[in-house]
């Protein structure tokens, strides 16, 4: 089932369930349990975007939920603010704290981030109890008036549909974000931060967005909870509740569309059922969790999807096409960068030190536009370090980098990427759990004109953007001969195809300068011939290339200029033929070039 059909059928089923449930005339108690469950589902959906897509674990979600709840409660009770503005204020305050919580991700992630969010939750809980004048202390705020909208009092039967409407909206929002450039950027950032930055994604902003989305959803339903319960106190917003939200997401299956809904429903109703067990309740709850997670390690929905994927599959054998595919209109995608008169890239006395080690030592190179400029040298000579400085991953210790005449040394890598410096990585940094097509789509992140809100509301410009980009991304896959692999998970591709995919992914940036770090490593001779043809085609489209490579034959035939590094210094620079004959270069780098290996096989090298 395609994600779209899955989404539409889930939505339809959900609606049918809600309508049937209402028609069966549930007791007040049953209605209350379901309404609370729907509210928790919305929090879980927000947390799922954060954990399952942005890869950020928050154990402070109950505090954001509580913020929305208390802000709305206080405004309604003490300032007699009506329903809609009170809810709006709850959302706004929660969103603000979402931004604040996102800030630490600049420095910490994983369990360390989880600890920070726990701390946030504990501080919040303590404030609720101790700031008695505002929060009512451990008693909380009691006697909140029912919400009213346009003169209609939101009594339970109507309020049920308000909450259900919010859940459906949250579900649609989740689907929209997941399948937009923002969702892809979140997953990309989570899977390889370096590659995301190299594709022009501001990873801090993307993480902040994920936090804000989850905070808005938590704050919204916090406020809704206030007008359902009509009193609030700290006991609904403890660390235990934050932990519960995490369980709901994990139990349902992180990153899946339906996971948070299924996980929340399971846990809510399990608790209801277990209430008869009295003192053995927590024991049974724990055992049940153990059993489910052991049997379904990817969560309920995640495991079902995984099994369906395996059983539904037929054995296929696909052949990659040769590349470059000359039928692809590359010019439309790359634009036609006008070749500037000056140098594309110049470094002046560029130096990079790590502690006492000098990785790049006063290197000055000039790269002419539209050429292939090779950097060669022994392993550890500083070639990759130089690439990392040029692409903004390292800040130079001294010296300057000039890109198209402007000093760019020290700019952030995503900013350089957007200016047109694209790169690949020595050990390939694909987004392994995304498909080949999605990998290329991430490369287009900076090429959308539509804003986040346009995307969220599916306004025409956002729809047009997505359609245009999808077509171009498929064309790029076709260009590198991987069209048939579009829906294959990137980590399943053979190494050589991963290298091609990485180049295809860099091209949406419309690179003026493309940095290739050992693109021929692991390729056979025939594949290297294809690579050479591709590089020539790219330079014809105005792309300037810096090539780090050990495959001597390739370097010598494809490069216009060769610079040789050894111990971080330039030891030779010139046209291929000039460098090839240089005695120092032969000594430091070429050796015999693999001639008469068998003859040199005597033991006793020193």
């Amino acid at each position: 089932m395609t994600p779209r059909r899955q989404f539409v059928s889930a939505l339809a089923l959900g609606l049918v369930f809600l309508v049937v449930f209402r028609m069966l005339e549930p007791t007040n108690y049953q209605l209350g349990v379901l309404m609370r469950c729907l509210i928790l589902m919305i929090v879980a959906i927000g947390l799922n975007i954060l954990i399952g897509h942005a890869g950020l674990v928050s154990l402070g979600q109950a505090a954001l939920y509580g913020l929305g709840s208390y802000v709305a409660a206080w405004l309604a009770l003490k300032a007699e603010v009506s329903f809609l503005p009170a809810v709006g204020a709850g959302v706004a305050v929660a969103a603000l704290f979402g931004v604040a919580l996102a800030y630490p991700t600049v420095r910490v992630r994983g369990v360390y981030l989880a600890v920070i969010t726990i701390a946030f939750g504990l501080v919040f809980q303590n404030i609720l109890v101790e700031w008695v004048t505002v929060t009512g202390g451990s008693q909380g705020l009691i006697g909140i008036p029912r919400g009213q909208v346009f003169g209609v009092t939101l009594a339970r039967p109507i309020y049920f549909w308000v909450i259900a409407g919010c859940l459906i909206t949250a579900f649609v929002v989740q689907y929209t974000i997941i399948h937009s450039r923002y969702g892809r950027a979140m997953r990309a950032t989570a899977q390889s931060e370096n590659a995301a930055r190299a594709l022009g994604i501001n990873v801090t902003n993307i993480r902040m967005l994920a936090f804000v989305v989850s905070a808005v959803l938590a704050g919204l339903v916090g406020a809704l909870y206030t007008f359902l319960n009509l009193f609030v106190n700290y006991e609904s917003f403890t660390f235990f509740h934050s932990f519960g939200f995490l369980l709901m997401v994990i139990l349902g299956g992180t990153g899946t569309l339906l996971g948070p809904v299924v996980g929340t429903a399971t846990l809510t109703y399990v608790v209801e059922l277990l209430q008869n067990l009295r003192e053995w309740q927590i024991f049974a709850y724990g055992v049940l969790l153990l059993l489910i997670m052991f049997a379904m390690p990817r969560g309920v929905v995640g495991t079902i999807e995984h099994l369906a994927g395996r059983f539904g599959a037929r054995s296929v054998q696909r052949q990659p096409r040769a590349w470059p595919n000359p039928d692809v209109p590359l010019g439309e995608i790359l634009g036609s960068p006008a070749l500037a008169g000056g140098m594309t890239l110049e470094t002046r006395d560029l130096t990079l030190r790590f502690g006492g080690l000098t990785a790049v030592d006063a290197v000055s190179v000039s790269v002419r536009p539209g050429t292939v400029h090779a950097l060669i040298g022994p392993n550890g000579a500083g070639k990759s370090s130089l690439l990392n400085v040029i692409s903004g991953f390292y800040t130079p210790t001294a010296g300057e980098v000039m890109f198209e005449g402007a000093a760019v040394g020290g700019l952030a890598s995503h900013a350089l990427a957007r200016r047109g410096i694209a790169r690949t990585f020595q050990n390939t940094e694909l987004f392994g759990r995304m498909t080949a097509l999605e990998n290329v789509l991430v490369g287009f992140h900076g090429r959308y004109r539509s804003t986040f809100l346009e995307t969220l509301f599916r306004l025409p410009r956002a729809v047009r953007d997505e359609r245009r980009v999808l077509g171009q991304a498929r064309a790029l896959l076709d260009f590198v001969g991987l069209a048939e692999y579009a829906d294959e998970q990137a980590s399943n591709l053979p190494f050589g195809h991963q290298r091609r995919l990485e180049i295809a992914r860099a091209l949406p940036l419309r690179p003026k300068l493309l940095l290739l770090d050992e693109p021929a490593a692991g390729l056979t001779h025939g594949e290297i011939e294809d690579l050479k043809a591709s590089l020539r085609l790219l330079t014809q489209h105005g792309v300037t290339i810096i090539l780090v490579e050990h495959h001597v034959e390739m370097v010598m035939t494809v490069s216009d200029h060769v610079t040789v590094l050894d111990y971080g210094e330039v030891i030779a620079s010139g046209r291929a033929a000039e460098v090839q004959g240089d005695a120092r270069v032969v000594e430091a780098y070429f050796g015999t070039g693999g001639k008469d290996l068998a003859a040199t096989g005597a033991v006793g090298r020193s």
Partner: protein, 249 residues
């Protein structure tokens, strides 16, 4: 005639929908140096993964040292005498060079653990550069030094068969001049080696026999010295071939 050290019959490996190896036969005799060459996606690495027990074969049999491997997990295969030097080295980057070597001897630790110090010394005499860096973190080594370490780590399990995946990957030409002869020496001292290599020009010089893989099967095999003059090998792997687009029109 003695049974080969490694005998693979009709091996199949599949990942979900993709069938990577589709009926492969291959042998490595005791003391032999065998190479596999082939394009990306031909199924070379998948074959090695099946031999090393990293993936369970979807079909076929693998016999190692007289017994079936029967999909045994990799730690069992290492204990049985099969050492893998993985693609991309995979050294333990935040442990020292010395610890990386000792980890190679992990399967021997329980069995009296004699001779480990001597074996470390032997590796260090093979790669004197490593001796200078014994207390450094492996992640700080250059690519060539990491490859030496990966080989050394493999040797410390005292393997009967050393499996090397992409010796040349990302290494400078001069480093290859040094590493290929080391494998040759190890083989001459009696170690059986199975080498997967993209640089066919190097591989064909050092190996006794070579298998050429395409689309998950063996396309041809024979003595390396003869294959080095085979037209198909010359065309596809030794650089007498135009880019594929030349013939596509």
């Amino acid at each position: 005639m003695t049974a080969p050290l490694l005998a693979i019959v009709d091996l199949r490996v599949a990942y979900g929908r993709i069938e990577a190896v589709r009926g492969l036969d291959l042998e490595v005799g005791t003391g032999e140096f065998v190479g596999i060459i082939g394009a990306n996606g031909a199924g070379k690495t998948s074959t090695l993964r099946a031999i090393a027990g990293v993936v369970a074969p979807a079909g076929g049999t693998i016999n190692f040292d007289g017994r079936s491997t029967g999909g045994q997990p990799s730690h069992v295969m290492v204990a049985r005498g099969l050492a893998m030097v993985p693609e991309g080295r995979q050294v333990f980057a935040d442990q020292t060079v010395h610890d990386n070597l000792l980890l190679g001897a992990y399967v021997r630790m329980g069995r009296g653990a004699t001779g480990i110090t001597e074996d470390v010394e032997r590796v260090l005499s093979l790669f004197p550069q490593l001796a200078e860096r014994l207390t450094q973190q492996a992640g700080s080594l250059s690519g060539g030094e990491q490859q030496m370490l990966a080989i050394g780590r493999g040797l410390l399990s005292r393997p009967k068969l050393l499996v090397v995946d992409e010796l040349s990957l990302g290494l400078a030409p001069k480093m290859l001049d040094l590493l290929f002869p080391v494998l040759l020496d190890l083989n001459r001292q009696g170690l059986s080696i199975l080498l997967v290599e993209q640089m066919a020009s190097y591989a064909l010089q050092v190996t006794h026999r070579t298998y050429v893989m395409e689309h998950g099967r063996i396309l041809l095999h024979g003595p390396s010295a003869i294959l080095a003059h085979d037209a198909r090998v010359l065309d596809s792997y030794l650089g007498r071939r135009a880019a594929t687009n030349g013939s596509r029109a």
